[in-house]
């Protein structure tokens, strides 16, 4: 360990959580070392354009399509999962999986992290979401509530540059905001499809079952971390543009590819926060942290990491760095992996457990008029009325996202439609249909794809200790680190939620006069297929890994305390969605960002405490 490599704080991971923590601490004069496993090739404009071209040239436009594989810091990919002909799945790639159902989400290990390919929707959690065990009898409770997080929600909305309508969120969802609060930017305009749906659904009462609880439908605009129009009521907000190209990307221009890459970088990603880091923050990329070093008293000393040059042929050297505080911000799965590799923080036996996502049910159909699909951000509005209420006791609650990109998620439209109309089936050995050509093809395709409607029902998944990340020393990555094993399933509570969502979807399609084309069957593209109460379903992963270093109010039952500090190690923090005891129905990253900013304040206080001179002051004396 070189004497020069000592820092106030080491942050592991330059993704969303780590970049925010580093920014906060650097701004307060702390010397921060950020160790990032991935490369920085995407930080330059040519590197960004290369990713864009890789995306264009990729046959499957999956979230990781633009990003080059990195053998030193491998990432899971949704293409790693293969459904079997009569149900079940097989997992290839980085994750090993042994659960009844597959964990179907990916992430990205590159500087900037998963925000490079996230959608950028940033709704707050509902106040009811923090006490689901106490109030609804499932999952785990938070040791804090909405009111504790509210100021940090505002700070996170500022840090990410959120665009939203606080009055609408308050009125339609019941979210408390301080009086007069305005998001940094005005709400991103609703899509034409949102407007069509609002015209037909707003104010309509709906019951899930004839004797079930009722609700009133309303299409509500979703908050985005996407550049729009600054709101003058929010202090002098200037949208953060692209990194690597000045004065660019300060407004979303409707490229409609937020997942997996925003060509103009109008969507927030962690590189924007990094661009605003003070000079006290040092970023070291191609540095895979593989161990947290700890002293006999439980305090951590620093980390060991593997530095490599070439992501294709990763020969590495092992190094160490020291700091007073270490903050793990490597993503829910990787944080758990790192704690397990180091054998730390696990006196509760909860490290890696409580793995959650927002299992998502897709339904799709054709509206009776053109909807203008494949335009604008992936989703601009949703139905928020299934997020809480008494029904939650019996089944998982859900948020309904209105998809702006046709059937691209469930069926791979429009490519799948072109193939189908030409008579090309998925199986190359099967006889092909006659096919349409010329004007008939052009018109039929336009007529069908132009009316595609898809709804995404994102379920709250309850924390279950059996859903977990473990390690298998027999299977290692190229740097010799054991690969993660995922054990995953859906609870009855979630499955009942999915069944309710299917019923709600049928009612919505009927109200919309839409021709329901939803179909679930096992097969290669349906690793998430299962049967429940005699019906078929297919769920998708949402990319929202959480719960793996769960927060609680007791060291006996949780990994981190309410400040995301490991109970077992007073100067080790684990930040990210891994700390969340429950995830509600909101996309989780805004809540995660709020928590990270709150923890950064705690780290700063810890450091101030450590630096306090050890002189005993005389009462009344001056110093």
């Amino acid at each position: 360990m070189t004497a020069g490599d000592r820092h106030d704080v080491i942050v592991v991971g330059a993704g969303l959580a780590g970049s925010l923590v580093a920014k906060h601490l650097g701004d307060r004069g702390r010397r921060v070392l950020v160790l990032e496993a991935g490369t920085r090739t995407l930080d330059t404009w040519p590197g960004h354009l290369d990713a864009l071209n890789t995306y264009y040239a990729a046959l499957a436009k999956v979230p990781n399509a633009p990003y080059r594989p990195n053998a030193a810091a491998p990432s899971p990919d949704v293409l790693d999962l293969e459904g079997l002909p009569s149900g079940g799945y097989r997992a290839h790639g980085y994750f090993l999986q042994d659960g009844p159902l597959p964990y179907a989400s990916d992430y990205l290990r590159a500087c900037g992290g998963t925000t490079l390919h996230w959608m950028g929707l940033v709704p707050r959690m509902h106040p009811d979401d923090f006490a689901v065990r106490a109030d609804y009898g499932y999952g785990r409770d938070w040791p804090l509530g909405y009111a504790d997080l509210e100021p940090h929600y505002r700070a996170a909305e500022h840090a990410l540059g959120a665009a939203g309508d606080a009055d609408e969120q308050r009125e339609a969802i019941g979210l408390p905001f301080p009086p007069g609060y305005a998001y940094p930017m005005r709400a991103i305009p609703r899509s034409h499809l949102d407007r069509l749906l609002a015209a037909r659904l707003d104010g309509v009462p709906l019951r899930e079952t004839p004797d079930g609880p009722g609700t009133v439908l309303r299409v509500v605009t979703t908050p985005h971390a996407r550049n729009g129009t600054p709101d003058p009521r929010h202090d002098h907000y200037r949208p953060a543009g692209a990194t690597g190209l000045p004065n660019y990307g300060e407004r979303c221009v409707g490229n409609a590819s937020c997942v997996p890459i925003c060509p103009v970088q109008a969507k927030y990603d962690a590189r924007k926060t990094q661009a605003a880091w003070s000079h006290r923050v040092t970023l070291r990329a191609r540095a895979v942290v593989n161990r947290v070093l700890v002293a006999g008293d439980g305090r951590v000393l620093g980390v060991e990491y593997q530095r490599y040059d070439d992501p294709a042929a990763p020969a590495h050297t092992t190094r160490t760095a020291e700091a007073d505080v270490v903050v793990l911000a490597a993503h829910a799965v990787e944080n758990a992996r790192l704690l397990l590799l180091s054998g730390l923080a696990n006196s509760s036996d909860q490290v890696g457990r409580n793995l959650m996502d927002h299992p998502t049910l897709l339904t799709w159909g054709l509206l009776n008029r053109p909807v203008g699909p494949f335009r604008g951000p992936g989703s601009t509005s949703g139905l928020e009325c299934f997020r809480t209420g008494p029904a939650r006791r019996a089944r998982a609650p859900f948020r309904v996202e209105i998809a702006n990109w046709g059937w691209s998620w469930p069926t791979g439209a429009p490519a799948s439609d072109v193939a189908r109309l030409l008579g090309i089936g998925a199986e190359p050995g099967a006889p092909r249909g006659a096919g349409l050509f010329g004007t008939a093809l052009r018109e039929t395709l336009g007529h069908e794809v132009g009316r595609q409607l898809c709804l995404q029902f994102a379920m709250e998944q309850d924390a279950e200790s059996r859903n977990r990340v473990t390690l298998d020393p027999r299977h290692r990555d190229a740097l010799g680190n054991p690969r993660p094993v995922l054990t995953y399933d859906l609870s009855e509570h979630v499955k009942r939620g999915i069944a309710a969502a299917r019923a709600v979807s049928a009612r919505l399609f009927a109200l919309l006069g839409a021709d329901d084309r939803t179909a679930y069957a096992p097969g290669p593209a349906a690793p998430g297929w299962y049967r429940f109460e005699g019906r078929d379903y297919v769920f998708q992963g949402a990319g929202h890994a959480a719960g793996t270093h769960v927060m609680g109010d007791s060291p006996a039952t949780s990994v981190v305390d309410p400040w995301q500090r490991c109970w077992d190690h007073p100067n080790l923090y684990a930040v990210g969605c891994g700390s969340m005891p429950s995830v509600g129905t909101s996309n989780p990253s805004l809540t995660m960002a709020a928590l990270a900013l709150r923890s950064a304040e705690a780290v700063d206080r810890d450091l101030a405490e450590l630096r306090r001179p050890l002189v005993v002051r005389q009462p009344g004396g001056s110093s």
Partner: protein, 165 residues
Amino acid sequence: MDTQHPATTAHEPPGAPPECAGFVELSVRLTGFDEFDLRGTGMVRLYHDTTLEQLGRAAVGRFLDDLAAAGGDPGALADEVSRDIARAITHLWYLGVWPSLARATHAALGRGTPNTAFVVSPEAWTEGLAWRTFHGHPPGARPPGFGTWADPPPGTPDRAAGDVA
């Protein structure tokens, strides 16, 4: 299809037929888009060459004969191999992707290349015709402007009415 066309045509003599005239004429019949649209993609030469490369001159020649025999109507193609070639070229134009051929077609042509689908080039994908059929644009390749997604799509009754509500 001008299969005799040399691979590089840096200098066309004045008055020479436009590039790949035969291929364009055939593509108009397959896709339902006119010559102006097809040439506007900038993909004519690349698709012409890809087709020859994937199928070979002999197969393309037989395909052209079959199409002529079908009165130029790809829907009337009787031979399954020729029909599959029609599917492939149309797929290429609509998505920028050369598809896998039917296993039987692949075998009948005795192709030496693997029968796998691929995106012909990054630009090819962004020039796919599929998006135009519903007044959309290829994701990540066209910035129509802030808020444009709120407008009704062109050519719909909603457009004339201004809005839906």
